[in-house]
Symmetry: C2
Subunit: 241 residues, 2 copies
DNA sequence: GAAGTCGATGTCATTGTATGACATGATGAG
DNA sequence: CTCATCATGTCATACAATGACATCGACTTC
């Protein structure tokens, strides 16, 4: 199973329309949103794959995907693959201009750069909705052996360094093999008001996160997060709960 | 009727779940998406207002709004108002990092600044999905009498300068009173591949768009759009159809 | 205090809309 | 050519979506 398949298998939301401890979601709504999230997680997705991942018949999935396409949330290319549609892009732009998202990656990018320079590892900025984290910015390590490829990808929070860090604000969390074998991620959450989680992760091969480097990595990560919080606060964003 | 009410009344999607010349959207899906778009257009919205605008009973609207909240697309504050939720923020960040949206506003902002400096009027960057345009960035005029308040707002494309410009790439379109009385908008589309429409608009009081200023405004607008296209193309974005 | 209004929420009988079994068509590989 | 796979359409049916109605809570007015 390739990395991409592993990632895909792991981020696909459960096809259960109703979370056991949450509100009853009308079945059809749950299904449509499942399909939307599947396509977005896959980036490009055929009808059959979406139907399989959503555990729906092709007929039912086609109906929902067509509906989402008709409303502009998805679009379909000549090869029959669904991907992000114009309405979702417009909404994303609108939402972006309304929130800290507008400044977040811009503000964080130089800090990611600095973190990578100090540690020699790849650094990532992640946002999270409580179930899924999405890596939205990165600075890659310049080493010959480096971690690449997570930007734009979503990971489940369960079991990951990112998830643990978001649950324990202020703590630096280290996990190995949670998302990829032999890969160590070190994460710390950024203090934010509101429901959007934000974190910075440092990611690299396990053997480069031994005890001696770890202290240094942790220092650098803490500096980056502290600086991001400071910069966003200075810019008028109230980050403290 | 205040400006805000006018804007809201004009951008609310028709509650008809099936567009007459498009795919059949399952009724429940159409309703849920209508409500989502209503809340996003309103920015903050109570159950009763959303139900009224969507032409649904409060009970039905509550059910859908709760579903969208449960899935993270909306959230609800202590005052009972719905607004953008964490999953939508995460998706927006993810979508942003995948597309030209990532660079668009950053690249356009200095051009908006320049356009406003040259013309003395407020300039706006808009994105569109073909039905609705959303203003996502602005530079305000520094004059005592200036146009303000459109950033983050959505406008229907029908009848507006923005809509006409998007339908006629390369043309500079002028409209007065389409969105607000006595306000003139001058728009030109930015050439983009894909389904997302992008345009720059210059907006100000009608009396400042007379024949003599108009030529100058048009020149400046064309320069801004040409430069944005050039910059995006240089940055690797294929804009030409 | 009582009465009224409004918004939010819950219940339940009903029906119409969502659904999937099945069929068909198109395409590509061997 | 056959076969497999993917996409799409049809239609009978049953169950999930729905709204009429009731209840509750908060607030305002008299």
């Amino acid at each position: 199973m390739s990395l991409y398949d592993m990632m895909s298998a792991m981020v696909i939301p459960s096809p259960i329309a109703t979370s056991p401890d949450e509100v009853a979601v009308p079945r059809s709504i749950g299904r449509a949103l499942d399909l939307l999230e599947i396509v977005l997680a896959e980036h490009r997705c055929t009808l059959t794959r979406a139907a399989t991942l959503a555990d729906l018949t092709p007929t039912t999935a086609l109906r929902y995907l067509r509906a989402l396409e008709g409303r502009g949330y998805l679009e379909r290319n000549a090869a029959g693959e669904y991907s992000t549609g114009p309405t979702l892009l417009r909404i994303a732009a609108s939402v972006r201009s309304d929130s800290l998202l507008d400044r977040l990656a811009t503000t964080a990018q130089p800090l990611l750069d600095d973190l990578t320079r100090r540690t020699g590892e790849s650094s990532y900025l992640a946002v999270s909705d409580g179930r899924t984290g999405t890596y939205v910015a990165t600075t890659e390590s310049t080493r010959a052996i480096r971690h690449v490829g997570w930007v734009g990808q979503s990971v489940p929070l369960d079991g990951s360094a990112l998830g643990a860090a978001l649950l324990d604000p202020g703590a630096v969390v280290v996990r190995t093999g949670a998302v990829e074998p032999d890969i160590t991620a070190m994460s710390r959450a950024v203090a934010t008001a509101g429901s959007l989680g934000v974190a910075i992760s440092l990611v690299g091969p396990e053997h480069r996160f031994g005890d001696s480097q770890r202290i240094q990595h942790e220092l650098a990560l803490n500096d980056a997060v502290d600086e991001l919080e400071r910069t966003l606060r200075i810019n008028g964003e109230d980050l403290t709960s």
